[in-house]
Homo-oligomer: 178 residues x 2
């Protein structure tokens, strides 16, 4: 099992679709169906992103999510922490104090400061978090944009517009309602 | 839940007790009881450390484990990989190829090279692994040694000798066996 769950992968990929300029609000359902991934899964991710101030939501038939900041202002670390919570690399159980040679409480020299094993893990965790903090959603979006053909963003916008229009039609009163 | 399991914590702490100079073979049971941790848990860790060439085992009543290399030659990364296997930070499911606008197969530009999200995660994983590779069991042992009083290593040796002697007595023929 990987350290980061599939929610992080889905979350970042969804945010990439919102990173285009002047993107109208997009529902989590449309984002999921655009990518062929679980709608219920994606629906659970967005409230976490909203709580962390990464996206803003709007209600109503044309409602959905937009980025709350520019893509360059959103670090990958921020997205990971918003979705996963602050998950440690290593959970120190302080077993250094349990030695059979010690009394209760163990001698202070044995439990002073951070456990030496834990200290190594904290350094490794910091290196990982620093690497995630150094990359923004904007960096990833630029890489993706360089790969895609020039008209791809327009095609995606068109697909989303068609979905939005279909939703509008469904909510308009039909002759039978009138 | 932390990324690294309690097995890594137990494994490194056990290896620290084997890092002293001229340590006689120690059984996994004695290592567990010395530290007040589960004997069955520790017994499952050592075959993995042996398979990875970190410890060597010997059979018999005085048998047990010794380090197969010097503590300075054993990196923390090596211990982590031996115990956990090579666990990725992120498991890329290549969702970039599933876009509703694509046919089957998706266009080659969409799936060429490493996914940009995955690339960020691979960089973060490398930073973490480099940090773990930069630290050795010897580094941790030196930190612990600096904290402990000068006679502590001798006390531990004495505790292990008493256990070893008790085992010898239990296996000697008693008058009733004769």
């Amino acid at each position: 099992m990987a350290h980061l769950t599939v929610s992080v992968e889905y979350g970042i990929h969804c945010l990439l679709w919102l990173a285009g300029p002047d993107r109208a609000p997009v529902s989590s359902r449309d984002l999921a169906e655009l990518q062929g991934i679980s709608t219920s899964f994606v629906a659970k991710i967005f409230p976490k992103l909203e709580k962390a101030g990464i996206v803003r939501s709007s209600e109503g038939v044309h409602g959905g999510y937009v980025l709350a900041k520019t893509p360059a202002q959103i670090s990958v670390l921020e997205i990971v922490d918003a979705i996963e919570g602050r998950k440690p690399l290593f959970d120190c159980r302080e077993i250094r104090g349990r030695c059979a040679l010690f009394g209760d409480p163990p001698p202070s020299w044995a439990t002073a400061g951070v456990c030496a094993v834990h200290a190594v893990m904290l350094r490794a965790e910091k290196a990982m978090r620093d690497a995630l903090a150094a990359q923004s959603l904007g960096d990833i979006a630029s890489t993706v944009e360089r790969k895609a053909p020039p008209d791809f963003a327009g095609q995606v916008g068109g697909w989303l517009d068609v979905r939005d229009a279909a939703r509008t039609r469904r909510t308009e009163p039909t002759p039978r309602d009138a």
